[in-house]
Amino acid sequence: MSTATLSLGRSAAMPLRQAVRRAERPARNLAVLMVVPALLFVIITFFVPILKLLATSVQNPEVASGLPQTMIMLKDWDGHSLPDEKVFAALAADLDAAHKTSSAASIGKRLNYEIPGARSLLVGTARVVSAFSPPYREAFLARDAAWGNPEIWSVIARNESRLTPFYLMQAVDLRQDAEGHLQSAPADEAIFLDVLGRTLAVAGLVTLSTLILGYPVAYMLTQAPARIAALMMLMVLLPLWTSLLVRTTAWVVLLQTDGVINDILIGLHLTAERLQLIFTRFGTVLAMTHIQLPFTILPIYSVMRTIPATHLRAARSLGAPPVAAFWRIYAPQTIPGVTAGCLMTFILSLGYYITPALVGGPRDQMLSNFISTYINRDLNWNFAAALGAVLLLVTLGIYGLFLKLAGADKIKLG
């Protein structure tokens, strides 16, 4: 009796909540352990690259580390007149060192982004700088009069920092003038806002068309008899089993001027002249709509499937005519699926690359096409990262705006 009381007293001293937590710890630890691989996978393959991408878009080590002495000397420079002899002397030493480590070209390439011609100016001068003798200022100016342009000095001075907003600004058509003030890029070089707008417009258009085409299909899928629904589902899924490139190429065959669609239109005497279908916005949206259709349909379908058939019957028994019953009762319940499907298609469309490249005209190239060019051909990874960062931020922005307007519970995959 006394021992029983004692043990009761002790266990009462330990709060129940703590006891429960202790008792459930093994199960909880196991659960955490089971999630760890997926978590690590996502961190390593998703979050780390994105952070790296964002970091790359502001990194700027070339000039600062390539011209260290010049940077120190330029600290006293007034910013608009020709720098004095000791700056030129420092540059001569830096360039000589750069030539020996063959890094002059990478400094030149970086400066060339802001001043066309700077690359050959730097590389050319670095090649002969070991032969220069004081006074260095005259030697430099004799080699190339371009060294007398204060603009190149202000660009060098501006790149003293190892972090730069230059690439991000360029990605939204902004630049710094010689004095460092923000200004818009000249009209004939301001392309990226336009491309971004076009990317959003194409993605929006594709999303809208998949919704208009896909919504009735999703509805029919839920209403049709099981055997027909299975066949329809197969046809919805079939495109997903073919590679993107194959489907895009098929559209090229269909859309080209001597292609199937034009042949049919001419054959039916619907048009006298062959229509320009390929290399147009229409063709791009058409092909992308076809490819994206399943991504819009499936979430809508899986949400529609959860809506009991009795809801429409109930609405009608309560007095609503068929159309009103559909719009007031059925359609609002499909919104989470519509949102999920549209968001998925919209975000996937923002990243389209192959299809606009093959089916679209020059005015239909999306941001991804430019990112690819800057990565593959120009090797300007910083700027590609900046464009990627802009696209990422815009996507997140749209997603965030959406969550705010619609609420997270309005997105459902079934």
């Binding site: 009991p308 009795t310 609405a315 009608r316 028994s317 309560l318 005519p321 068929p322 609002p332 319940q333």
Partner: protein
């Protein structure tokens, strides 16, 4: 096929309701047939009247045609042939929204994106009620189902019983002359179900609503209904008040579907004006009622388990007495369930009072009795 089977002898403890003054029929099914595939009939030649203010239950196993009948009445299915009259007018071509019928669905079909109040106001939207009147009616309907403070909640935040009440309020708020219910209590637990049965019945009586109710739960049907139409195989087997249905089933299906029953093969031994006697499979003979009208082959004797008792000294001499071996005993609280070996069957079920079964053990032979008026001969 009709509700007027006269009892030739009476022995039941409950009196069947006195013949009411004939109700004016609100709903009339006239030779209604329904086929989905053009080959087989789901509903075969249905004729049924539902009177004004009546609570009629359509009872039957799944696939018996009861739900299809309800859907035809609600306007969701069209009869293949025949007519459905509502208040004297043929409505089989009228869409559901023009029939002014309240419908409570299985799983309630509440609209999840609307609040409780919006759900209840929904039918009023199509009846051009003023805003003030709508609000007043919604409030009254909520109060009627004891959910006064729940108007702003979403259906998802309510319990099953509360959702059921909302569905009820929504079906009643526009004061339809007829309310249809399709297994409305199927998703509730037993206690809540019994409570709701009571409430629905109370509302129906208070408001004087005509109600057609579909269920496969026979005790629910017995509890609530004025009349029960037992469906099987696309046909109404019997339509009668609960007492008649229980005590005087017209055929083996109704006898076994409503309540427990022993159906034993038998042959007619003697049939004269005063006495009916049958021979059982083991050769024993019993007095019975309900003389067969047609053929004499394939007769069954129906005996309710609770009518069998342990033979006592004070019992009526008119009772059939018989010896039986006790196969098994199961204590059920208020009674003991016995399986007996008798009349050539080794599974004759008897429910006897616990007190009477006190001395019995499995394997015992004992004497039992059953009133002759509870031995009912069935032809089919």
């Amino acid at each position: 096929m009709n509700g007027t089977i006269p009892l030739s002898h009476h022995s039941a403890s409950l009196e069947p309701p006195q013949a009411e003054p004939a109700r004016k029929p609100l709903v009339q099914f006239q030779s209604v047939k329904k086929s989905y595939d053009g080959k087989s009939l789901v509903v075969k030649d249905l004729n049924l009247d539902v009177g004004e203010g009546e609570f009629l239950t359509m009872l039957g196993p799944s696939g018996s045609g009861k739900t299809t009948t309800l859907m035809m009445l609600g306007g969701f299915e069209r009869p293949t042939s025949g007519h459905i009259l509502l208040d004297g007018k043929a409505v089989e071509k009228l869409p559901p929204e023009k029939r002014n019928i309240g419908f409570v669905f299985q799983n309630y079909a509440l609209f999840p994106h609307m609040t409780v109040a919006e759900n209840i106001a929904f039918p009023l939207r199509y009846r051009n009620r003023s805003r003030a009147e709508t609000q007043a009616r919604v409030a009254r309907a909520l109060s009627m189902v004891h959910l006064d403070t729940f108007g702003d909640r979403k259906p998802g935040q309510l319990s099953g019983g509360q959702q059921q009440r909302v569905a009820l309020a929504r079906a009643l708020v526009f004061e339809p002359s007829l309310v249809l219910m399709d297994e409305p209590l199927g998703a509730l637990d037993k206690q809540l179900r019994e409570h709701m049965q009571f409430e629905i019945k109370k509302l129906q009586v208070e408001l004087g609503i005509t109600m057609v109710y579909v269920t496969h739960d026979q005790s629910e049907a017995l509890t609530m209904s004025d009349r029960i139409a037992v469906f099987h195989d696309g046909m109404i087997q019997q339509c009668a008040d609960p007492v008649t249905l229980y005590n005087a089933p017209v055929n083996r299906f109704v006898a076994s579907f409503i309540g427990d029953n022993n159906l034993l093969p038998c042959q007619l031994k003697l049939a004269d004006k005063d006495r009916l006697r049958v021979a059982m499979a083991d050769g024993s003979e019993l007095d019975a009622i309900n003389p067969p009208a047609g053929r004499m082959k394939d007769l069954s004797l129906s005996i309710r388990p609770e009518r069998i008792a342990v033979a006592g000294k004070t019992s009526s001499p008119l009772n059939n007495r018989f010896q039986a071996r006790v196969g098994s005993l199961f204590f059920q609280g208020d009674h003991v369930r016995l399986t007996l070996e008798a009349f050539g069957s080794d599974a004759l079920v008897a429910h006897v009072a616990a007190r009477d079964a006190a001395g019995l053990r499995a394997g015992d032979r004992a004497a039992f009795e059953v009133p002759f008026a509870d031995c009912r001969i069935l032809e089919a």
